[in-house]
Amino acid sequence: MTDNTNPTNEGQQPTQQSQKGKKQQQKPNTTRKTDINANKQKQQQPKKPKVIPHRDHYARISYLAQASQLMGDCNEGLSRCYTSTMTTVAKKTVLRLSPHLKRTVCKKCSRKLTPTNCDIELENLSRLQSSKANVLIYTCKCGTAKRFPVGKKEDYKLWADTASAN
């Protein structure tokens, strides 16, 4: 191993040794890799739980989300109340909400963003109007905006959509 690093060594012996050393190195490496691959394949199929953990909390959150959507246009206060309780329940019980669900809620005033509720606009501030500078903006009634740089990467997909779902 050290022979390669020492250029002062003379004769053929050190080179032979280094070759041997290389061979010896390669063998265990390959076996390791295969082992890891096999392990990966085993690992990639974790057991699916028979019952969803904390199903009751999930059900409550989903119900609240739907209720707020239902009240979105006719009773604004109620809808906002539902969404805020939804987020607090999710935080308290440490459950994850999908990004699609989170994107429909205003972060500041917890309004359910319906197209009648917010302004939807495609902004392009670039001088040459190149499509790479397209930004989709959802502006809530309260003034907070969600900005999605849509043009930056057109084939972008959320991890939650691309990850293998069981």
């Binding site: 890799k33 974790p46 459950l95 197209p115 009648t116 606009e121």
Partner: protein, 250 residues
């Protein structure tokens, strides 16, 4: 060492609550009718390009403008104009004000516009813009129609078109009224509640050791340290003692 890092991770399932109304269905149209609708739309939008050119000439030379054709006046072209027109109509509907010249047809090149979030709001927007008297019909155009549309109208990347009721669009509207269904929102249907949907996604997480293992390791480390210290002490004693012996022996 990325290889080592991978070894230490294991595959785990993470539960994520899916948006209950994620898939708001677009009204389906058969392929043949889509094509026929698209060709009709192209012919309806034909007067847009010459009018725009004449507009440009008028700006440069100061020639009087020709009268605006109905296809230009009664249509909104592009993403922002279409959404704004639909939104104002929806707001008027909410306040139950009468809408003058409502939009009746919306055409979106759904397959050509990427990413999906750009077209996500159209179904619910169309549904809230439609009235008891007039329904807004939403049509998704066949793939590759965006290029053709922008050729016909002379506008760059035209993927969204909204049309009002006008005599120029009569044939088009008749076909659409016959073949395309209204947009239906799941939360405004008879049974608004959708069942719970929890996705479980596979990710990798570091392997955590249990408390017992951790405490055992700690103890082991402490013991090792003690042993080393003892050894060092012994070595020190020996090292001190040896030279003395050497000096005394001869």
């Amino acid at each position: 060492m990325s290889v080592l890092g991978e070894e230490k991770r294991k595959a785990v399932l993470k539960q994520v609550l899916e948006d209950p109304y994620l898939k708001v269905a677009w009204p389906e149209v058969s392929e043949d009718k889509r094509e026929s609708i698209f060709s009709l739309l192209q012919s309806a939008l034909a007067p847009v390009k010459p009018y725009r050119e004449s507009q440009r000439q008028a700006k440069d030379t100061g020639v009087k403008l020709p009268p605006t054709p109905g296809a230009v006046e009664q249509s909104s072209l592009g993403f922002n104009p279409v959404t704004k027109a639909l939104q104002s109509q929806a707001k008027q509907n909410l306040l139950s004000e009468p809408v003058k010249e409502p939009i009746t047809m919306v055409f979106i090149c759904k397959d050509d516009i990427q990413p999906e979030i750009l077209v996500k709001h159209f179904p619910s927007l169309c549904a809230s813009a439609s009235n008891t008297q007039t329904a807004v019909k939403l049509v998704s155009l066949p793939a590759g129609s965006m290029e053709k549309l922008s050729e016909v109208t002379g506008l760059r990347d035209l993927g969204c078109v909204a049309l009002k009721a006008h005599k120029d669009f009569d044939t088009l509207s008749k076909v659409i009224m016959a073949s395309v269904l209204d947009v239906e929102l799941p939360w405004k249907s008879e049974s608004p509640f959708t069942p719970l949907e929890v996705k479980s996604l596979t990710t990798f997480a570091p392997i955590k050791k249990s408390k017992n293992q951790l405490t055992a390791e700690k103890k082991g480390k402490e013991n090792n340290q003690k042993e080393q210290q003892q050894k060092q002490q012994k070595q020190g004693k020996q090292g001190n003692a040896k030279p003395k012996g050497k000096v005394t022996k001869p």
